[in-house]
Amino acid sequence: MELPTFWFVVVAFLWTGYFVLEGFDFGVGLLLPVLSRDEAERGQVLGTIGPVWDGNEVWLITAVGAMFAAFPAWYAGLLSAFYLPLVLVLAGLIVRGVGLEWRGKVRHASDRAWCDLGIMVGSGLPAFVWGAVFADVLYGGAVAALVGGVFSLALFALHGAVFVALKTSGPVRGRARRTAMITSLVALPTAVVALPGIPAAGAKGAAATGWAASPWLWACALAATAALAAATALTWRNRDGWAFTATASSIVLGAAALFGALWPAPLPGLTVAEAASGPYTLGMLTWIGLIALPFVLGYQTWTYWVFRRRLTAGTP
C-alpha cells in the first residue's frame, strides 16, 4: 500500500474511533434530562462517561492533527469550507467540556443546572453538525446536510442510551432501555435514507475510479443499517452488551462506507494523492505512529477496564 493510501486509512480509523467513542459521550450528554430524575441519578448517568470522555475527545484532536500533517490541503479545505458549522462544533465542545468538569465543583443547584444545560447543548450541537458536514461533503446540499445531521444526532443518541443501559443498574437502566427503543424510531428510518445514500453519492462523485461504486461500499452501508436494527432488537431482549456492540458496529460500518465514498477525492476537486504530504513526513509519522498507537490503545482500554462496573445511583 502506498503511504498516502495508508494515511487515508489512518485518518479514517481515527475519525471512526472518535465517532464510536465520543458518539456515546454525546448521546449520554444529550439524553441527560431524559434519563435522570434527580441529582443522584444525574451523577449516575454522567459517571458512566466521567473518567473517559476527555480521552475520547483526543481522538478528534488526533484525527484532525493527522489530517493536518498528512493531508494539509484536505485539512485546510475542509475546515475553511465549513467555517460556521465548525464554529458551532467548537462552541459546543467548549461548553460541554467545562460543564462536565465544573458540575462536580459548583455549590449551588442553579449553577449545576447551567452545567447540565451546557453538557446537553454542547453534546447535541457537534452530534448534529458532524453528520451534516460529512453529508454536505458527499452530496452538497441543504437537504442532505439536514438528513445527515438528524441521522448522526439520532445515531449517537441511540448509542449513548444503549451505553447507559450497559453501564448502570436500577431505574436509570430501565429508562435508558426505553429511551433507546424510542430513539431507534428516529434513528432507523433516517439510517435507511442516509446510509445507502453514502455509496450512492460516492458512485456519483467518483464513478470513474471503480472503487467508489464497489459493492463493498454498499455492503458496509447496508450492514450498518442492519446493525442498527439488531441493536434495537437486542435492547428489547435485554442484551445490553450485544446491543452496544451492535451500535458501535453500525458506526464503524457507517464510517467505513463514508470514508470509502470519500476515496479518492475527500473534497470536490481534491484527490488524496494531491493533498498528501511528502513521503519523508509520512514515513516518519508512520514509524512513530506504529510504535505509539499500541500504547495509547492499551492504556485507554485499561481505563475502560478499571471503570468496568455498573454504576448505581448515589455512588460516585
Binding site: R42, G43, L46, G47, G50, P51, V52, W53, D54, G55, E57, V58, I61, T62, V64, G65, A66, F68, A69, A70, F71, P72, A73, Y75, A76, L78, L79, S80, Y83, L84, L86, V87, L90, A91, L93, I94, G97, V98, L100, E101, W102, R103, G104, K105, R107, S277, G278, Y280, T281, M284, L285, I288, A292, L293, V296, Y299, Q300, T303, V306, P316
Partner: protein
C-alpha cells in the same frame, strides 16, 4: 477592515486566552503531583488535604485549557488555510505527535486520577497524576517546536510552493525551540508558583483573621499548614525564575542571529549600532548592555529596524517588514519587569522563611508578605502574555520567517462576516467562562481544604464552610464527583 485583520485578532484573543490556563496546567500539575508524592512517602494527612485542595483548583483550570486548546488546532485550517497548506508537511507533524504522544497520555491518565482514588492501588494512582503531568509538559514541547519553526524554519525545502520536511530531527531540535521550551515551561512554573503563593497568602491572612489570638498552637496552627506549600512554591518560583532568565539570555543571542528585526524592535533601535545601549525605561540607558546581551561582546553590532528594512526590501521585495515597534518595545519591558518582580518576591520569601540556626519554632510568615503574594497574583501571568506578544507580534509581518507573509496566509474563501461571527462567538463565550472560572476558583480558595477526616484531638479544622463531616472515619471525598 479586512478578514485578515479580524483573523489576526481572533488568533491573538484565543491564543492569549488559551495561554492563561496552560501555564497553570503545566506548573500546578507538577505541584499537585509533588504534594501527592509527599503524602505517599510520609503518610502525613495534611499533604493529602493539600493535594485535594490544589488538585481541585488544578482541575477547574485544566478544563479551560483543554476546551480552548481545541479551538487552536482548528483555527489554522479555518482562518489560515493558505498557511496550513504551505506548512502542513512540516508544521502538522509536531501537532499530530502532540496529540498522539502527549494529549492521549494527559487526558486518559487525568481521568484515571480524578476517578481512581478508590479504584486504584495508591502507588498506581500516584503514577497516574505523574503520567498526566508528563503529558502536559510533553505537549508544551511539541507545540513550542512547531511555533519555533515559524520563527526559525529548519529541516525543510520548498517544493512547488509548499514547505516539505527533510529532517524531522532538525525540526524537533531547532535551536530556537531548545531555547524557547525551557523559557516558556519554566515561565509556566513561575506563573503556577505565583498562583500558589497568592492562594497560600490569602489562606494565611484569612485564618489569622479568624484566629487573632493564635489559640491554635503555632506548630499545628492553621497558617502553619500553608507554610509547606508556600515554601515549596517559593523554591519552585525561584529555581524556575533562574531558568527563565538563563534561557531568556540564550534567546536574545538567537534573536540577534535569527530574528534581528524583532530584537531591534524590542529595543526601538533604528540604525545598525556598535556598542548599543539598553534602556530599561525610555530615557534611561545602560551603555553597551544590548550589544553585550545580544552578541556577547560589548562593542558588537546590533542591527536597527530601518537598516534591516532596507536589506529586507532588497532581498524579499517592496513591503514593510517592521513589526509594531510600540507593542514589541513595551511588551518586552513588561515581560522583564513583571517576571523579575515575581522572582524577586520568591527570593524575598525564601529569606523570610529561612531555617533558624538554633532549634525553635519556624519563622512566622509576616502578614505583609502574605498580602504581597496575593497582590502579585497577576504579575507572572501578565509577564507571560507580554512575552508572547513580544514573540509573535515581533515575528510580523511573517507567519514563517523569510518564507510566508501573514497577508498571504489567510483563508481566501472565508469572508469578513464569517470571521466576525466566530470572533464574536469566541470572545463572548471566553469572557463569560473567564468570569465563571474566576468565581469558581475564588469560592474554592475561600472554602479551603476539606476538614481533617478523623476526629483526632487537636487536628486542625479549616473554614470548610458547609462541608463539615466530623464523624470519625469519614474519608476525604474524591476530588471530583458528578
Amino acid at each position: 477592515m479586512e478578514a485578515l485583520d479580524l483573523a489576526r485578532w481572533q488568533f491573538g484573543v484565543t491564543t492569549v486566552y488559551h495561554f492563561l490556563f496552560v501555564p497553570l496546567t503545566i506548573g500546578l500539575g507538577v505541584f499537585v503531583a509533588g504534594l501527592q508524592t509527599a503524602w505517599h512517602r510520609t503518610g502525613k494527612e495534611h499533604y493529602l488535604r493539600l493535594t485535594k485542595f490544589f488538585g481541585k483548583l488544578f482541575l477547574i483550570n485544566f478544563a479551560m485549557g483543554v476546551v480552548t486548546g481545541i479551538v487552536q488546532e482548528f483555527q489554522f485550517g479555518m482562518n489560515w488555510s493558505e498557511y496550513s497548506v504551505f506548512v502542513g508537511d512540516v508544521f502538522g507533524a509536531p501537532l499530530a505527535l502532540e496529540a498522539l504522544l502527549a494529549f492521549f497520555l494527559e487526558s486518559t491518565f487525568l481521568g484515571l486520577w480524578i476517578f481512581g482514588w478508590d479504584r486504584l492501588p495508591r502507588r498506581v494512582h500516584l503514577a497516574t497524576i505523574w503520567a498526566a503531568v508528563i503529558g502536559s509538559n510533553l505537549s508544551a514541547y511539541f507545540i513550542l517546536a512547531a511555533n519555533a519553526w515559524m520563527k526559525h524554519p529548519v529541516g525543510y525545502e520548498v517544493v512547488d510552493g509548499k514547505a516539505r520536511m527533510t529532517d524531522l530531527w532538525a525540526v524537533l531540535t531547532n535551536s530556537t525551540a531548545l531555547a524557547q521550551v525551557p523559557h516558556v515551561v519554566a515561565g509556566a512554573f513561575v506563573v503556577a508558583g505565583g498562583f500558589v503563593l497568592a492562594v497560600c497568602g490569602y489562606r494565611i491572612l484569612r485564618e489569622r483573621r479568624a484566629d487573632p489570638d493564635r489559640t491554635v498552637p503555632l506548630r499545628r496552627g492553621l497558617p502553619q499548614m500553608w507554610r509547606t506549600p508556600m515554601r515549596a512554591a517559593l523554591v519552585m518560583t525561584a529555581i524556575a525564575g533562574a531558568v527563565v532568565a538563563g534561557s531568556g539570555d540564550a534567546s536574545a543571542k538567537l534573536l540577534h542571529e535569527q530574528q534581528p528585526m524583532k530584537l531591534a524592535a524590542a529595543e526601538g533601535l533604528e540604525r545598525d549600532t556598535a556598542g548599543a545601549p539598553f534602556s530599561p525605561v525610555p530615557g534611561v540607558e545602560v551603555p553597551l548592555l544590548l550589544s553585550f546581551l545580544a552578541t556577547g561582546d560589548p562593542q558588537g553590532v546590533v542591527q536597527g529596524t530601518e537598516d534591516l528594512q532596507e536589506r529586507f526590501t532588497e532581498r524579499f521585495g517592496q513591503a514593510d517588514y517592521r513589526p509594531d515597534t510600540t507593542v514589541v518595545y513595551w511588551s518586552f519591558r513588561v515581560m522583564i519587569t513583571f517576571g523579575l518582580a515575581t522572582v524577586g518576591l520568591s527570593v524575598l520569601g525564601l529569606w523570610l522563611t529561612r531555617r533558624r540556626r538554633r532549634p525553635g519554632p519556624p519563622r512566622e510568615i509576616p502578614s505583609w508578605f502574605a498580602r504581597a503574594c496575593v497582590l502579585a497574583l497577576p504579575l507572572p501571568a501578565l509577564a507571560m502574555i507580554a512575552g508572547w506578544l513580544l514573540s509573535e507580534i515581533g515575528r510580523q509581518p511573517w507567519t514563517v520567517q523569510g518564507e510566508l507573509l501573514t497577508a498571504a496566509s489567510v483563508s481566501p474563501g472565508v469572508g469578513l462576516g464569517e470571521v466576525a461571527v466566530s470572533l464574536a462567538v469566541f470572545t463572548a463565550l471566553y469572557g463569560a467562562l473567564a468570569l465563571a472560572e474566576a468565581v469558581l476558583l475564588i469560592r474554592h480558595v475561600k472554602a479551603g481544604p476539606e476538614p481533617a477526616p478523623t476526629g483526632r484531638p487537636g487536628a486542625p479544622r479549616t473554614g470548610g464552610e458547609g462541608a463539615g463531616h466530623d464523624d470519625a472515619g469519614t474519608r476525604l471525598q474524591p476530588t471530583l464527583m458528578y
